[in-house]
């Protein structure tokens, strides 16, 4: 059969996967702390053919040989960790990370996960949690009746407690960093998990070493750029279309062949 059919099939499949990544990015255009996915493609292996004893005429400089490609494949999706737009909300428990770093949260199974979504809340026990209710680690508990909770750039959480004129420190938010953040596994719910590719997390105080500072009263928006996604979508759709055209052409060739043989 005509191998061009299978080759264009890989092209169609790749564009299908790309469209899925674009759709997901666009769906998350308003998700706080979302990082866009980028589909990375590579060409499939080549069949390098050198017909034995093949002759070349005098005019051709290159030695005879044929390289037949086998199409394209999706190598993977890469999370793009550029900073999203900062939105000022003025809310006490909205914290944005200005620079590198992740908040560390404790999942229900006791394992740690990492997030950049800083829309924090306080649960019934006074613990600082993410919007989905996962407690921040190390634990930060806001005392009952505390007022004027201030989260400093260095992660220090202080509040006015009845009976004290001076604000008292009630906790410390730490951040973690990875050698290769793009290697983190996206769990959904804005959470990431450590993998072999990401390296081990290094914990530290915000603003120190490579870690970013915290900004209270602000949120980091999604880093999806709508125009870019739209352009990508058009390109993906047209590439898809062109690959199906090749499929039709390859089919036509086989049809001519079958008609010739009768």
């Amino acid at each position: 059969m005509n191998p061009a059919m299978w080759i264009s099939k890989t092209g169609v499949q790749a564009q299908d996967a790309k469209l899925q990544a674009i759709a997901n990015n666009l769906a998350n255009v308003n998700t706080v702390g979302y990082k866009r996915d980028r589909a990375v493609f590579a060409d499939l292996f080549y069949q390098v053919e050198r017909p034995p004893g093949a002759r070349n005429d005098d005019n051709t400089v290159s030695p005879s040989g044929v390289q037949l490609g086998n199409g394209t494949r999706l190598v993977g999706t890469q999370k793009v960790f550029t900073t999203g737009n900062m939105q000022t909300t003025g809310q006490t428990y909205d914290v944005a990370i200005q620079g590198q770093g992740f908040f560390q949260v404790e999942q229900s199974n006791g394992e740690f996960a990492y997030t950049r979504a800083g829309a924090l809340t306080v649960n019934d026990e006074g613990r600082l949690t993410t919007a989905t209710g996962m407690p921040i680690a190390p634990e930060v508990t806001i005392p009952v009746n505390a007022t004027n909770v201030v989260i400093g750039e260095n992660g220090e959480v202080s509040a006015n407690v009845p009976g004290n004129t001076e604000p008292v420190q009630v906790g410390q938010i730490t951040l973690v960093n990875f050698m290769n953040p793009a290697g983190l596994l996206a769990l959904g719910d804005n959470l990431y998990q450590e993998t072999v590719a990401s390296g081990v997390p290094t914990e530290g105080v915000p603003g120190q070493d490579a870690l970013g500072k915290l900004k209270q009263g602000a949120l980091e928006g999604s880093n999806v750029q709508v125009v870019e996604e739209m352009v990508d979508m058009i390109a993906a759709q047209r590439t898809y279309e062109m690959n199906t055209k090749v499929l039709t052409s390859a089919d036509n060739m086989l049809q001519y062949l079958a008609a010739a043989v009768r």
């Binding site: 005509n2 191998p3 061009a4 080759i7 264009s8 890989t10 092209g11 790309k18 990375v40 590579a42 060409d43 292996f45 080549y46 069949q47 390098v48 093949a54 070349n56 005429d57 051709t60 290159s62 030695p63 005879s64 040989g65 044929v66 390289q67 037949l68 490609g69 199409g71 394209t72 190598v75 890469q78 793009v80 960790f81 550029t82 620079g99 050698m179 290769n180 290697g183 590719a197 990401s198 390296g199 081990v200 120190q208 490579a210 993906a236 047209r238 590439t239 062109m242 690959n243 055209k245 090749v246 052409s249 390859a250 036509n252 060739m253 001519y256 062949l257 008609a259 010739a260 043989v261």
Partner: protein, 242 residues
Amino acid sequence: MDALIYTLMSGAERSMRAQRIHANNLANLETGGFRADLELATSQPVDTGYGYDSRHMSQLQANSVSSREGVLRQTGQDLDVAISGQGFFTVQFGEGEAYTRAGHFMVDQDGQLTLDGRPVLGDGGPIVLPQFSRVQVASDGVISIQAPGQVETQQVDRLRLVKPDPAAVTKNSAGLLVSRSGEPFAADETVTVRSGHLEGSNVSAVEEMIAVMSLTREFEIQMKLYRAADAMAEGGNRLVGG
């Protein structure tokens, strides 16, 4: 049997194989840094002695790549690097080295700079970055980092950039470019890169579509000639058979 049908066969075979090259180019329309494969029909005389002067078989030759530049796209990532003008990045491939235009570099867990899992080579072998808070790639390929807590940047290594003659490169089975002679290319200081950009595929969709269409039609004509050859043979059979 008339040899016409065999001559035709070589032409039809070439059309079908050439179609495959163009299908592969179009499938890689969105592959970053992809170089389009060029395809050429060459004629090959049937060299078996007197009487075959009119028989030239058609043969496919496809072992060179287009050196046209792809479109640069801004991505804003520090480790996305595109080459402006001619030139290639060097990556490790087995024991030797291979070349590519794709520049979506990633740092692995050990700080090694990789491209789809293959180590990227610098002047001093594979590039390994220490812990950094910022990384920069200058236009001459020099990679410098800002260590955590430091203000000054420090130079780590320099990307090994090469600029061979376009005719001297060919693709290997992994789709990477290699030297045709097998000798590694020398580093070239004149190659400039742009950080924060990625180069797209250099496949021209229009050219490929036109090629696909004309090859399909060529194939159709060749099939018509098959029938003509068949009809001639049939006519001969009828004469003999009465």
